[in-house]
């Protein structure tokens, strides 16, 4: 479904997506990495738990919220992947611990 329109990046980094190891092109956003990995939704909403996926991809809509390295409610479209990054869906409201 999603296909890069430029040449695939040569270098990749390894990240963990929902507990699964994945090689993703270096320099892409977390949201792009999740979409490439084939996730059909990347969070559930805070109140009604409806599945959502990245929408605007430019930092405005907040549909792309994920948990990055344990930090909740991170905008996936505004964060670049790095080697060893741990990415999880944001499920409902964040926790506080």
């Amino acid at each position: 479904m999603l296909k890069r329109i430029d040449e695939p990046a040569r270098a990749t980094v390894t990240v963990t997506i929902e507990g699964e190891q994945a090689a993703v092109p270096e320099g892409v956003s977390v949201s792009a990495a999740l979409l490439m990995h084939g996730l059909t939704f990347t969070r559930t909403t805070a109140i009604s738990q409806i599945p959502r996926a990245p929408y605007c991809l430019m930092g405005v809509c907040f549909e792309c919220l994920v948990v990055v390295d344990g930090v909740p409610n991170v905008q996936g479209c505004m964060r670049i992947v790095h080697q060893g990054m741990n990415i999880q869906r944001q499920q409902g409201r964040r926790t506080l611990s």
């Binding site: 805070a46 109140i47 409610n73 409902g92 409201r93 964040r94 926790t95 506080l96 611990s97």
Partner: protein
């Protein structure tokens, strides 16, 4: 011109009551009047108005109120007793759940000095209440912690005062519900119609806005800071001053604060609201970094884990304060049928405003011992 006259004529024919002001007070009274079957027109300002009704913290609160005016403490409690039915009726009529919960409320102390000041105040209120009693107790740190199993208290928390009468609601949903209920009962809401002049013509009152002229047998002035100017036109003197309060709201989180506090409360949809400031800055409702920092620090002192939450919005609003801080409810003595209403705690009082006050205005039956709320108390 033809158009304006026609509309004015229709309004003269159709309204029993004109309510000036569509904020928390005006909307509650307007809703109550419409619900009694009266034909009500509510005149509101535009989007540039100072709207305390959109800046509320959302406490439905009893403890600590009424020093020097027992009638106000009693009135507050009357409203709180009406709140469960009031919220349920709004929900059933409008489908808007205002999120009212009454788990009791807490005022946390983080120093001996603050705790002692609190004890003095509650003791004074208890003495003032006499055999009516004052339902508020002091609990120690462990008892406070037991109320919050999901979040740890900061090291400075030493105890607090707890009253079972206290609760909270979502103030934006309350305002929305009052307006929806008003419309559902046939009320006519007209925004961008700032009242400029009120005159008596025969048995009617005529209210002029920059666009139109409206008439009705009764006029209710609930225009927030506009009350002083407008009430003067019907011979009621209501001195008011603005006091700015700033508030902060965080991103949504799982429920960690089941009990509302003065200064910290969590809405049932997860946002945490933080307050509060009391600033004498005139008609300036902007926000400042120093108050934002102060308010955040106060909350973190009570619950350190709150530091992890992002703030999503801050805002300022202007409290509508009389010289003693207590409400004004007054019918004009020289122009009966004209009422001036002003108060600061319009969320807490919305239930009694929608009920007893609409009954007073509709049927002419004044609530008991109501002269207490007349603004003549400010005449020196």
């Amino acid at each position: 011109m033809q158009d304006t006259r026609t509309k004015a004529f229709d309004a003269m024919q159709n309204a029993d009551v004109l309510v000036i002001g569509g904020g928390m007070f005006g909307a509650a009274v307007g809703y109550g009047l419409a619900r009694r079957g009266l034909r009500v027109t509510m005149l509101d300002e535009g989007d540039n108005a100072f709207r305390a009704a959109r800046g509320n913290f959302g406490l439905v609160w009893y403890q600590g109120k009424g020093k020097g005016m027992q009638r106000y403490a009693d009135w507050t409690l009357e409203s709180i007793r009406l709140w469960p039915d009031f919220a349920a009726e709004l929900d059933s009529e409008t489908g808007v759940n205002v999120g009212y919960h009454k788990p009791g409320g807490l005022t946390i102390a983080t120093s001996e000095k603050a705790l002692n000041a609190r004890k003095e105040r509650i003791e004074l209120l208890r003495r003032q209440a006499g055999n009516k009693g004052y339902d508020c107790e002091f609990i120690d740190r462990d008892q406070v912690q037991a109320l919050f199993p999901e979040i740890e208290l900061g090291p400075n928390v030493i105890g607090g005062s707890f009253s079972p009468h206290d609760g909270h609601a979502n103030p934006l949903k309350l305002l929305r519900a009052l307006h929806a209920g008003f419309a559902w009962h046939g009320g006519r809401y007209l925004p961008d119609q700032q009242a400029v002049r009120i005159e008596r013509r025969g048995r009617d009152f005529v209210v002029t806005t920059p666009k139109d002229v409206f008439g009705a047998a009764k006029v209710v002035i609930a225009a927030g800071h506009g009350v002083t100017r407008l009430a003067d036109m019907v011979d009621i003197r209501v001195p008011l001053r603005p006091e700015r309060g700033q508030l902060l709201v965080t991103e949504r989180t799982r429920q960690v604060l089941p009990v509302p506090m003065s200064g910290v409360r969590q809405n049932d949809e997860g946002t945490v609201m933080l307050g509060v400031s009391n600033e004498e800055v005139g008609f300036d409702d902007s926000t400042t970094l120093d108050q934002t920092q102060r308010i955040a620090r106060l909350a973190i002192e009570k619950f350190p884990a709150l530091r992890h939450l992002r703030l999503v919005r801050t805002w300022g609003a202007l409290r509508i304060l009389t010289p003693d801080g207590y409400p004004v409810y007054a019918e004009s003595k020289t122009q009966p049928g004209a009422y001036a209403l002003a108060c600061h705690s319009a969320v807490t009082l919305s239930a009694v405003n929608a009920n007893a006050i609409s009954y007073w205005i509709a049927e002419g039956v004044e609530p008991e011992d109501f002269d207490t709320f007349r603004p003549e108390r400010f005449d020196a």
